[in-house]
Amino acid sequence: MNTSIESQFPTYQIIDGEGNMVNDDYKSEITEELARKFYEKMIFARLFDRKGVNLQRQGRIGTYVPFEGQEAAQIGSALALEDGDWMFPTYRDHGATSAFGHSLKNIFLYWRGFIEGCVPPEGKNIFPPAVPIASQILHATGTAWADKKKGNDRVSLVYFGDGATSEGDFHEGLNFASVFNVPAIFFNQNNGFAISLPINKQMKSKTIAQKALAYDIPGVRVDGNDIFAVYFETKKAVDRARNGEGPSLIEALTWRYGAHTTTDDPTKYRDQHESHERREKYDPMTRLEKFMQKQGYWDEEWAEEVQKDASRRLDEAVEEMEKVEKSDEAVMFDYVFGTDVWPVEEQKQAFFADRSER
């Protein structure tokens, strides 16, 4: 019997790198319609990300955090949620938040240095991108706990990276979720690096999924570049949570092709050759495309239309973003408390008095 950790946590895959379906687990549910929906959302995310990188290069936004290569992990998981569920993204998860209904204009505004970027559309339970690593994991446990107490069937899904599993907050979040049996899905995107630190220096554990054992919750490892594997495994965890069966940990194996952020130079710490190779062999978009071709779902004209439509929506969002020149300075003061406190009020008045004299 093979009892190695890797064999206890095999990497679940439905579509391999060549676009072949490697098992029949979800055969009946994998339809042309689903494949097309995935393609639409993923190509949108990819174009979104490239737009972000370009806007930064042109100085139209500030530092930007790219996610190219991680589209299947983000879109597959986001689409497993329903309206009213909670999503807790990091700074790298705008692929997921846009697929879950965040405002494109606001997502761009975040990177342009506007607090409006933290504000989701009415009715969408999307937390602002969490910058302090792992801190958001506890919040997801908390919102899930609240839904359980209220008797709602809503679930909370939280994104975090491989590096985040080193923080105390990760372990506290999973332990609380386990102890109180809350409807939370801990969705890890293992992209192999935390800025410059490769995962083998981040941890000696062979997998992230195995960390679930310590909290006695289900832990699975999926091929994070296979959108079908991501989607159906996440859906399973979501259904369990919705049915009151408690939290799960999902480790999605993926890769960021580019820099950690637009201020980072990855050649300092890794051979970018590996990124090129992974793009050749494991790219989530190419894989879906190959699968669709093999199934006879592919239609070149349709794909072109989808891309054109995505570009048009992105251009519109950028135009909207660029209409916003500056926040009203009052924003700085007006939302610190729900009821006025004199120091903030006094400082606000002094600020505007100073401005009017200039």
């Binding site: 500030g62 530092t63 700074y91 990177w111 342009r112 240095g113 506007f114 607090i115 970027g117 910058v131 302090p132 690593i133 590096g163 985040a164 080193s166 923080e167 105390g168 907050d169 935390a194 800025i195 410059s196 630190l197 220096k201 981040q202 941890m203 201020t263 980072d264 300092k268 710490y269 500056k326 926040s327 300075e329 924003v331 700085m332 003061f333 610190v336 406190v341 120091p343 903030v344 400082q347 606000k348 600020f351 100073d354 004299e357 200039r358």
Partner: protein, 331 residues
């Protein structure tokens, strides 16, 4: 202060690197620890080349956990090493707050000196570089209020290296804050080899008679600019770069305000509970009867540091400081 002979022109961040290199060479007990400080050389390149030069046993890429970094460094320090910890941005120090507040700062006191924590925590801080949220906090006052840790902030390359070496040689924990905004804002002459700038001593940058201006870190430039503009209007300013925020240089504070009878304090951190309040108290304690005008504070607001499209509205600028000076002298 020992004086080295040869000098080199370098930026503030290069002076930090030079200080770290000097002490890694000088003292085998010195270790560098932090996120991305090794192979990558730090996200601001403050530890560039040091891992190559001194090896992975001394320049250590740690897992991503600030409480872990500071907590294990306390153990390293108690057991014979001098850890220099990098917190990637001051805004990410909060997970380590517990370790600093409940242990690093009081192990000497709790063991009557049997165990000590000679450790330096370095952190880039402050606004003005259009960084994403949380990266721009000025949280120095959280630490000046902590009994048992010194807080040091250089404003130029020479002081950065000298104060860093003094911090490393200090027998107790030191929080060493590096103003990001001026990491690369021009070069200054920095002596080669080892020298120190004494902790707890401010520095008079400009001699004047009418008003004393206190600042530190990136605000020193703003204070100097305001002083020069006011000089043109005939107001002569005594500008003090405090350099250490705990313990404050009580002597220089008393001496300058007893000469001028007026004070303007400039800091980027929120007004309430800021280090400015400590300076006001010291002036009150030492020089009450010398004062000819209420003390002015020009500070950040009691709001979270805003997103970067509003950061210039938040950060005290020369105009605000000039107005405060005018108010003080025309009282």
């Amino acid at each position: 202060m020992t004086v080295a002979i040869n000098t080199k022109k370098m930026t503030l961040v290069q002076a930090v690197t030079d200080g770290l290199r000097t002490m890694l060479e000088e003292d085998e007990r010195v270790l560098l620890l932090g996120e991305d400080v090794g192979v990558n050389g730090g996200v601001f390149r403050a530890t560039d080349g040091l891992c190559e030069a001194f090896g992975e046993e001394r320049v250590i890429d740690t897992p991503l956990a600030e409480s872990g970094i500071v907590g294990t460094s306390i153990g390293l320090a108690m057991n014979g090493f001098i850890p220099i910890v990098e917190i990637q941005f001051l805004g990410f120090i909060y997970p380590a707050f517990n370790q600093i507040m409940t242990h690093a700062t009081r192990i000497r006191a709790r063991t009557k000196g049997r165990f000590t924590v000679p450790m330096v925590i370095r952190a880039p801080y402050g606004a003005g570089v259009r960084a994403p949220e949380i990266h721009s906090d000025s949280a120095e006052a959280l630490f000046t209020h902590m009994p048992g840790i010194k807080v040091v902030v250089p404003s130029n390359p020479y002081d950065a290296k000298g104060l860093l070496i003094a911090s490393i040689e200090d027998p107790d924990p030191v929080l060493f804050l590096e103003p990001m905004k001026i990491y690369r804002a021009g070069k200054g002459e920095v002596p080669e080899g080892k020298y120190t700038v004494e902790i707890g001593k401010g520095n008079r940058l400009k001699e004047g008679e009418d008003v004393s201006i206190f600042a530190w870190g990136a605000m020193v430039k703003v204070a100097m600019d305001a002083a020069e503009k006011m000089e043109e209007k005939g107001v002569s300013c005594d500008v003090i770069d405090l350099r250490t925020l705990y313990p404050l240089d009580k002597d220089i504070i008393a001496e300058t305000v007893q000469k001028t009878g007026r004070a303007v304090i400039v800091h980027e951190a929120p007004l309430s509970g800021g280090v400015g309040s400590d300076i006001v108290s010291l002036i009150n304690d030492t020089s009450f009867l010398y004062m000819r005008a209420p003390i002015e504070r020009v500070a950040g607001f009691d709001t979270p540091m805003p997103f970067f499209n509003l950061e210039d509205d938040y950060i005290p600028d020369s105009t605000r400081v000039q107005k405060a000076i005018e108010k003080a002298v025309s009282f």
